[in-house]
């Protein structure tokens, strides 16, 4: 089973990755997640400007046979949503770490410390 875990990212137990650049956090789903979901056919993302609480549902990702919620890894405002995925949701299967979903402006920087390291995330996948 595919399970690439890049070392430059942080992770959540909900199988999302987070790229931290200053106070901007880019979020996507991991290789493990896309492999579990199978053929991804639909992605629903929030409007730019939406305020998210930590752990709140910010969107939905659907494979042919399943529907899964997407969870905000941290609290903050949605700065951007990757609406290109609407037309080509299969990119989430093909290149999960290039197919970012949203960018969040982090409102509480201490939350970043709660994200999982690559090693810790690997344990979540076992």
């Amino acid at each position: 089973m595919a399970n690439e875990i890049p070392s430059n990212l942080k992770y959540t137990k909900d199988h999302e990755w987070a790229l931290i650049e200053g106070d901007v956090v880019t979020v996507g789903i991991t290789d493990f997640a896309q492999s579990q979901l199978g053929d991804i056919v639909f992605v629903e993302l929030p409007e730019v400007g939406t305020q998210l609480d930590s752990g709140a549902t910010f969107g939905v990702i659907e494979s042919i046979k399943s529907v899964s919620d997407l969870y905000a890894p941290i609290a903050g405002e949605v700065l951007a949503a990757n609406n290109d995925l609407e037309g080509e949701p299969e990119k989430c299967n093909e290149a999960p770490y290039e197919s970012w979903l949203i960018k969040i402006k982090c409102s509480q920087e201490t939350e970043l410390e709660g994200l999982l390291s690559p090693d810790d995330y690997e344990k979540v996948c076992e």
């Binding site: 199978g38 056919v41 639909f42 629903e44 939905v60 659907e62 494979s63 042919i64 046979k65």
Partner: protein, 359 residues
């Protein structure tokens, strides 16, 4: 997970790396590589499903045909020897116990293939009525494995394996055959809308057929692809469109109820019955109908629910079957489906989403 049953091909599925899931008490392959690739293989070339979890009953004796005909709403008596008939199995109040295929192997031998989740319920119903007839009933579900070879290349493949019986083996034909791997029961039936065959046999013979199909590069397909394929051609599934709580008239199966038959269980009730529901085929431009989603009319009033839904691989659209309250069925054919917080306009289809190519 301790009591979960396994088909005779279970190890083969694991060695192919299939994603497994419990279904009707069996640990079944959901998908091997991808639902997309598997369903495409069936539409374009050939795929094979292990559906050994399904149940096989036999009725044998002078009255075997009469017995089965009395329990089915469809006309089994009229079918020629060597033909199969799809039918609901109903109670006196016409509620649906199951849907099944009955195969007339001779005028004294009938094979009945039923849904895995309903084997016990169905068998006790058959058993209850068998004593009125001169026939012997047996449940041989554990002794049979079953493959569904589906897709336009199926005939060519069976010919190469020397299993294809003869030119006159047309759609819904059924026959006991002596094949190079031993005795098999072959039927030109399936659940995908494509040409194809269902192959019943003992576990060893079916194991050999599976290996031979792999050598012919037939694509192994899981239950997820099977569900997409059946929905694309609008076939109902027990537990979704069909249930203990309504009748064939409520679920688009009027064509399987032959009211001109002299007698069958459920006939009297259906002769005066006014259906509660009507089946609708709906699709969305954006978004995917899922089981349980509400179906609304153009004013936003709830009129029914989605019974099955999926992304269609063939059309690239979200498709679904829905049961709509008959009295609220909108004359303007304008439907909406509530997907999470959004009420999305749905397209109403009078024909199947995908035509299918069965012969």
């Amino acid at each position: 997970m301790d009591n979960i049953k396994k088909t005779s091909l279970h190890e083969v599925h694991l060695s192919l790396g299939a994603k497994m899931a419990p279904f009707a008490g069996y640990d079944m392959p959901l998908q091997y590589t991808s639902v997309k690739d598997e369903s495409k293989a069936v539409r374009d070339s050939a795929g094979v499903f292990d559906v050994s979890h399904m149940g096989e009953f036999f009725a044998e004796g002078e009255d075997a045909v009469k017995f089965v005909d009395y329990l089915l709403t469809n006309d089994f008596a009229k079918a020629e020897v060597g033909k199969a008939v799809y039918s609901p199995l109903c109670r006196e109040d016409a509620t649906i116990i199951d849907d099944l295929i009955a195969y007339k192997l001779s005028d004294k031998k009938v094979l009945i293939c039923v849904n895995a989740s309903n084997i016990e319920k169905d068998y006790s119903w058959f058993e209850k009525h068998a004593p009125q007839f001169d026939c012997k009933l047996s449940n041989q579900s554990e002794d049979f494995s079953l493959l569904a070879l589906q897709g336009p290349k199926s005939e060519e493949i069976l010919r190469a394996l020397e299993i294809f019986p003869s030119e006159d083996f047309t759609y819904y034909s059924a026959r006991e055959v002596q094949s190079p791997v031993g005795p098999l029961i072959l039927a030109r039936t399936g659940y995908t809308g494509e040409d194809g065959f269902e192959i019943f046999g003992d576990h060893d013979a079916i194991g050999t057929v599976w290996s031979q199909l792999m050598e012919k590069e037939v694509v192994p397909c899981g239950l997820a692809a099977r569900d997409v394929l059946r929905l694309e051609v609008g076939y109902p599934l027990y537990g979704h469109e069909l249930s203990d709580d309504w009748t064939p008239f409520d679920a688009g199966l009027k064509w399987t109820v032959k009211m001109d038959k002299e007698s069958f269980i459920g006939k009297e009730f259906l002769s005066t019955y006014k259906p509660k529901y009507r089946l609708a085929k709906l699709s969305l431009e954006k978004g995917i109908p899922r089981e349980g989603y509400e179906v609304l009319n153009s004013k936003g009033e709830k009129i029914g629910w989605v019974t099955s839904g999926t992304m269609s691989v063939a059309t690239g659209k979200g498709i679904g079957l829905a049961l709509v309250e008959k009295e609220k069925f909108p004359e303007d054919k304008l439907f909406k489906i509530k997907v999470r917080a959004n009420e999305l306009d749905a397209n109403y289809h009078t024909k199947a989403f995908v035509a299918g190519g069965h012969k």
